[in-house]
Subunit: 411 residues, 2 copies
């Protein structure tokens, strides 16, 4: 009657508010979800404030909380987590950034912040790694291309700060501003100088790169500038295996979630065909999760598409994708020896096209769980469940207790 | 689908415990409240610990919490808030007090702590302002008469403390004690001296005042002594508009609530005919609130009478007044573009004739709100609602999220 394995299924941004397009229902309420409903019926349900009531979580702060790492203590900006997710091994003290390949015209004005949503930028990243040199500033760098127009940068060296601005003006038709230190701290000044030098040298490399010359010949916008943002200093993360005595894997097509999993010591399992969008191969993802559960104690699986539909304000698409998710989760119904946790990381209401603080539904199902009377997995029904209203940071302790990995407090 | 305005309706002390006089129902359960029930049915309900479970809040600490100002951080006694509500503009560092006009006999014994519930004391206050002089002590004072026998005093000057006792013995037939410093701090000693000198000089002014001579001729107790209490040092309050980006008004006949509203930067809108009691003109109050909502983002409306009935232990009167409130709130049913929050600030059970820590019912109704299945506004029904059990300090973050004035924590 005690599970030995744990599967967290995070349906990113799946929860919502009443949608006009769905006659006042939320997408979860409107969707036909026999699998999720059966899990709800067989488990204990509740609602959850990922961070705290009224606090709008990012996917980063919420996932940290769900994994038991208080974001107030461990969150130092998105940059280092994205960098880790993009493939740079971040160690404590490194400064991480998210990057976009972008296009500037001959006057230096940004004409496309995503370089025509370019993909296949690995050769550009390789050229940058070979030719850019920041050693005169006492700085080393790592640079990796990511999905589409995305990339990541990390700086290391003595005395680097992370309080620096971005060169991304967030709009087109203007020149990118210089990266500036946000404080008088020489460490921030040094980082800003290194950023500006990196941007200057990488622009030169990109300008002459054959891949860009070819793009221009084809009438495509060249990737001739890097926009860098989200600066943060990598912290020390106690490793999941030491903290909880559990081995674990992360399955996610979103680099941010991958990065969070990796910094806490989960092994990243890439799954071909998964995209982090509504066209992702969810069956492959679920199959990969089942495979990981055979060799690991804990698996975090993030499914991103519903969040995207919420950000786009598409209630019907969100409802329909929830039905796709539901079908893909069907193999989880027969999962032996496993505590299954299904929740969102935050709500992404179609009505506001952004994250909101509305609590998310959560269900825990598996051996030993007290089964409540709720039989539907949606925001309104789960609020009537036996878990009541918990916080993201409550989840891991509850799970550890249920799998008998808790220690008694007192005697 | 997003409200731009917010109306807080605080039904002061409306919640209760089972009442013998109501066959074991609470006054809210016993009352016929079609308007409140419809709002509950159209909104999301819950129960709320204004401060924390088991903590009996005052109206001051609870209102501070509801407005998002942690009372642990901002509450420095009732005096400065009453003084602000009575019309003294309090600035940081001033020492505020509540005062009663009282009656002493020729032997100096208190015969009436409220001077026969005198009213119309403005001429007395004016005489005190003209004739009392504390400059020899290096202290300036402000003094304003309030409703009935009430008044407020504020002291300012270098090195004034607020840890001083009251000269109110809380009973009649005894001499008023001197105000004493509660610590060895010279600042508290200086304040105590200024208080005693103020009491001495004001007694002289009052003794000879024509209004009191006339009262004595009419056989009424003269207002010939000031009882002062509730000393507190005015703090710095971040203004509501800067804290939340919302303009706001406060509508309340209770000076304490008015004072709290004013210190956080809400504009006080006086409404003729409102009394803070069960005979208040609630229709005028609701009309004023609707008017304010046309020009402001946020309105706090406090309705006091139910609290009074609770303090008096009158369950049937409380139930009946709740029905009067319910009828008066009817115009709120058609409020456009507004997030409506209805709650109590604390419970005032008839059985104990004082505030209690029992959580209060709360409903939030408006665009974007997830509607739960609860259809009744009372203590027991709201406990089954979708908000579950929140704290007073959760309310503003939840409201700001619903009106889209929140900032994301993380990315």
């Amino acid at each position: 009657m005690i599970a030995h394995k744990v599967l967290f299924v995070v349906l990113d941004g799946v929860s919502d508010r009443p949608c006009d397009a769905l006659n006042g229902l939320t997408p979860l309420e409107a969707a036909k979800t026999p699998v999720l409903d059966r899990i709800a019926a067989e488990g204990i349900c509740g609602i959850m404030d990922s961070v705290a009531p009224g606090i709008r979580p990012g996917s980063d702060t919420s996932h940290l909380a769900l994994l038991g790492y208080p974001p107030q203590e461990y969150y130092t900006g998105r940059g280092p987590l994205e960098a880790e997710g993009t493939g740079i091994h971040m160690t404590a003290g490194m400064i991480g950034f998210r990057c976009n390949f972008a296009t500037v015209d001959e006057n230096g004005l940004i004409t496309d912040r995503r370089a025509g949503r370019i993909s296949g930028t690995a050769p550009l990243a390789e050229a940058i790694r070979e030719e850019v040199d920041l050693s005169a500033l006492g700085v080393e760098f790592r640079f990796e291309s990511g999905a589409g127009h995305r990339a990541a940068l990390a700086l290391s060296g003595v005395g680097l700060g992370d309080k620096v601005s971005s060169n991304d003006p967030k709009k087109e038709g203007v020149k990118p501003p210089a990266v500036k230190p946000c404080t008088d701290d020489p460490a921030d000044k040094k980082t800003a100088e290194a950023c500006n030098e990196f941007i200057r040298q990488s622009s030169k490399v990109l300008y002459d790169h054959p891949l860009n010359i070819k793009r221009m010949e084809e009438g495509l916008p060249p990737a001739n500038l890097l926009l860098i943002r989200g600066a943060g200093k990598m912290g020390k993360f106690p490793q999941f295996s030491e903290r909880y005595g559990l081995s674990g894997s992360v399955i996610s097509a979103a680099t941010l979630i991958t990065g969070i999993g990796k910094v806490v010591g989960l092994e990243h399992i890439p799954v071909p065909g998964t995209t982090g969008s509504v066209n992702s191969d969810l069956n492959a993802k679920v199959k990969a999760a089942l495979g990981e559960l055979e060799r690991k104690d804990f698996v975090l699986m993030n499914i991103k598409g519903a969040d995207e539909a919420g950000h786009d304000g598409k209630g019907i698409q969100k409802r329909d994708f929830i039905e796709v998710i539901d079908a893909a989760l069907e193999p989880l119904l027969d999962l032996p020896d496993t505590l299954l946790v299904i929740c969102a990381d935050h709500s992404t209401p179609c009505s506001i096209k952004d994250h909101s603080a509305d609590p998310v539904p959560v269900v825990i199902r598996g051996p030993g769980v007290r089964v409540d009377r709720n039989t539907r997995f949606d925001e309104i029904s789960c609020a009537e469940g036996g878990l009541h209203r918990i916080r993201g940071l409550d989840l891991m302790p509850i799970v550890l207790d249920l799998i008998n990995k808790s220690h008694k407090y007192g005697a």
